[in-house]
Subunit: 322 residues, 2 copies
């Protein structure tokens, strides 16, 4: 594969080249990894930055419908929009999110949009790497906005927030069921909370939920990277389109403020650094992906399970053999 | 240090030896680690098993009071009880949990109880290792029950569940505030939910909360390692002592059933294996704890933050230098 050719075609914005580049970075093969590193270094020269928006919401809040409506609104304003999915559970669920593109029918046919479903992967580390690299490729390909979609499973939200400029939490109007409550941690990382389905019969419940979260955000949060009045909780309806433009204006206001006050650059630098450290860890652990080492792991693992040797001692033995 | 002497004193149940042994496994020094591995291998021969009970609850649910009352009840039945704390946030908070032993005044003076606060540590991996090893030492020292206490921070609950035979979630009566909702994931790992403060004015609220969680558990769960009727949500009062004995009887029933049906051994084997794999990962990552490597990490990290090199490329460069 001619990597510098692929890189220049990605930078020209060729969708097929972008799709192929993402397939390359998703590959677990060692030679592909070498090429992926080369490709990323080559496209870095384009020097483009998109607005990276992380979007989280549990199944049922209308995430696909929201992305469809929000994405079509953005392309209608002349923006180019890429949508990437992060689904650490996709191996088990068979890749539920974005797997069914018909749920975003208009956006998937839009020439200014690019939708990439989550690949089947196991390790969260691998998912993080793939997504960060796919974001870089989409940026190099000239997309103005990269939406990174995730479900609220395990650490996936923190992971997505860590690669986003803005992290948005999408909620449905609450029925007062305590068990549907939002994890507290996510309130601390959300830059904006959008209550979807603020239409028809659900409007009163949505309004109440929005007020609740607006209140909670005021109580819980005061971060240096938030100007006065942020983070906000707002009403939207993916169905009617109400609130989408206002939400987008607020995102731009927040982004602009962060850029002017140095927070944007500082966050990006911090994220890049964190990414590097993650890559180093991944690389160290990759030593275990080797036939002989795997066999030894299995053998010692069985001895540990049977109680023949302590875990600490077995680990020492394995590591000495590396 | 004479490790075989220390091991035999731990096995004899000498509290001072146990405390010293735990200090040894908590040490980050390389020579201490060697000795710790040797010590663990030496005490393994005792072949003792305690009941390992993981206990989680956010601040305010009355965790210390519960442990005090529950522990004193157990020692009153002739059991020996060890209490270990896992607090991944202790570096920041200054070690809030178990830091103040006066909160467990009776238990801490009880000759059949051993209480060990959480050390100041940073990495969650380090906390997991320390706790698992401390559990092993307490078992070797002949304790019948090892209580592993944690706050509901980040991954600490999953980590504690992964080293427990039973994982108990302690809750306070709910005020109907949705934001206090329990993380969904924990419902999936809890073997029993105890609603504390089921006394006085709070009794009606506790009863309601208990019914809610009992219902949710029935809806959410059916695992092979649960006999009919489990997991249970139950009322307790650490203040009055009500419900403590019943809860303990249910724990024993569940434990007995799991032992008879092979789940106990299978779980322990799975946990030991998982521990081993964790130790291997920790060991690999320990390569980064070296002056020269740290300096290079810092240097490359800065270049990545400035955008001079991609994270992937910088990681490759660092790893090649190892």
């Amino acid at each position: 594969m001619d990597i510098s050719d692929l890189a220049s075609r990605v930078i020209k914005g060729e969708r097929r080249a972008l799709a192929r580049a993402i397939t390359l970075i998703e590959s677990a093969r060692d030679d592909h990894r070498e090429q992926a590193v080369e490709l990323l270094e080559a496209v870095k020269g384009a020097g483009r930055q998109a607005l990276r928006i992380g979007l989280s919401g549990t199944p049922g809040v209308g995430k696909s419908t929201f992305i469809e409506a929000f994405g079509v609104m953005l392309t209608g304003q002349g923006k180019r929009v890429a949508v990437l999915a992060v689904d650490p559970s996709s191996t088990r669920s068979g890749g539920s999110i974005l797997g069914d593109k018909t749920r975003m029918e208009r956006l998937s046919r839009d020439p200014n949009a690019f939708i990439r479903p989550s690949p089947s992967q196991t390790a969260l580390g691998g998912v993080a790497r793939r997504t960060r690299e796919a974001v870089m490729l989409c940026e190099a390909a000239g997309f103005d906005i990269v939406l990174i979609e995730t479900v609220g499973v395990g650490q996936s939200e923190t992971m997505v927030a860590d690669m986003s400029d803005l992290f948005i939490l999408l909620l449905a109007p609450a029925g007062g069921d305590e068990l549907q409550g939002v994890k507290r941690g996510i309130m601390e990382i959300a830059d904006m909370i959008l209550i979807n389905k603020a239409d028809g019969d659900l409007l009163p419940a949505a309004t109440r939920t929005c007020a609740d979260y607006a209140g909670a955000l005021r109580l819980l949060r005061k971060r240096a990277q938030d100007p006065d009045g942020f983070p906000k909780a707002m009403l939207v309806s993916a169905l009617s389109g109400d609130g989408l433009e206002t939400a987008w204006e607020e995102m731009q206001t927040l982004t602009q403020w962060r850029k002017e006050n140095g927070h944007w650059d500082a966050m990006r630098a911090r994220q890049a650094r964190h990414w590097f450290e993650d890559e180093v860890r991944l690389g160290l652990l990759a030593q275990l992906n080797n036939g002989a080492v795997r066999a030894r792991l299995e053998q010692l693992g069985q001895a540990v399970a049977k109680g023949e040797i302590t875990a600490s001692n077995a680990a020492r033995e394995l590591l000495q053999g590396l």
